[in-house]
């Protein structure tokens, strides 16, 4: 597979380490009242779609960026890739 790195172009997927669903970016608040429930959901439950999947890849043998890659799990077609850091910052309201 080839991963379209947003800064470096197409890169051999072997340079990357796969983690899983990009929802792992959205870590719940561990000090909240309902943390037990939200963390169970966060750590263990997955949509596991047969189709478009947003997922985390780490460019371990490259620039050490975490990427959010959008990929179809039925065809392996890659629909896009972003720096996970940008995705995470956007989710936090663009807080700089």
């Amino acid at each position: 597979m080839l991963i379209p790195h947003p800064l470096l172009g197409l890169r051999d997927a072997q340079e990357f380490t796969y983690l899983g669903d990009a929802s792992l970016i959205h870590r719940p608040d561990g000090m909240a009242e309902n943390a037990a429930e939200t963390f169970f959901d966060y750590v263990y439950l997955r949509d596991n779609p047969a189709g478009v999947h947003r997922e985390l890849w780490f460019h371990e043998q490259g620039d050490r960026s975490w990427l959010v890659v959008t990929r179809d799990t039925t065809t392996h077609e890659i629909l896009g890739a972003e720096l996970a850091r940008d995705v995470a910052l956007a989710a936090k309201g663009g807080a700089q």
């Binding site: 800064l7 470096l8 890169r11 072997q14 371990e60 620039d63 050490r64 700089q96």
Partner: protein, 186 residues
């Protein structure tokens, strides 16, 4: 100056060098390295007057060079300055950055061709999954090589540097040596 005697990454007192037909591979034991990372929200620095290159690039100037290693991160190279506290010097030049000594974190191998670019390209094809067509002089990237991760720098049409983990120097040498020797056998 310390009275301890340094040892090269390959375990010798002298750097190793060997030729394979048109290709010469040499351990560069005197290369100083320091990493430099931008602090959050800070402007991109110009340490010691060296313009820092963008993603995938290497740039030389002022007797030094720099290559991009990640978003907001570079490696600064200084030939011949391995014995110095080079990171200290970089930190002084870029006090607002995070600077880390990396000289001995890596082993550098300089590969030169006496027959132009072709042997370099053949070697690249056997070593790493980099499309040589888009990897002209001034390119630098990190990639996998025989289960290791290395920086590959195209210093010139006929010159290449492979920089990898110092502790794996022997394995990297073995990979380079085997590939070069087999090219010779073809």
């Amino acid at each position: 100056m310390t009275d301890l005697a340094p040892m090269t990454a390959l375990g010798g007192s002298l750097a190793r060098a060997q030729s394979f037909g048109a290709l010469a591979i040499a351990e560069n034991a005197d290369l100083a390295l320091a990493s430099l990372a931008q602090r959050r929200g800070a402007a991109q620095p110009v340490p010691m007057g060296l313009a820092l290159p963008g993603p995938g690039l290497w740039h030389a100037g002022n007797g030094m060079a720099a290559f991009w290693t990640g978003p907001g991160q570079w490696m600064i190279e200084a030939p011949g300055r391995a014995a110095e506290d080079f990171a200290g010097a970089v930190k002084q030049a870029a006090p607002e950055c995070s600077v880390t000594e990396q000289t001995d974190a890596f082993v550098a191998f300089e590969i030169a061709s006496s027959a132009g670019a072709a042997p370099i390209l053949s070697l690249l094809a056997k070593l790493v999954n980099i499309d040589a067509a888009g990897f002209g002089p001034g390119s630098a990237t990190r990639t996998g090589l025989e289960h290791m991760s290395v920086f590959v720098i195209r210093r010139a049409e006929d010159r290449l540097a492979v920089i990898g983990m110092r502790s794996a120097a022997g394995s990297i040498w073995h990979a380079l040596e085997s590939a070069a020797a087999r090219l010779q056998g073809e």
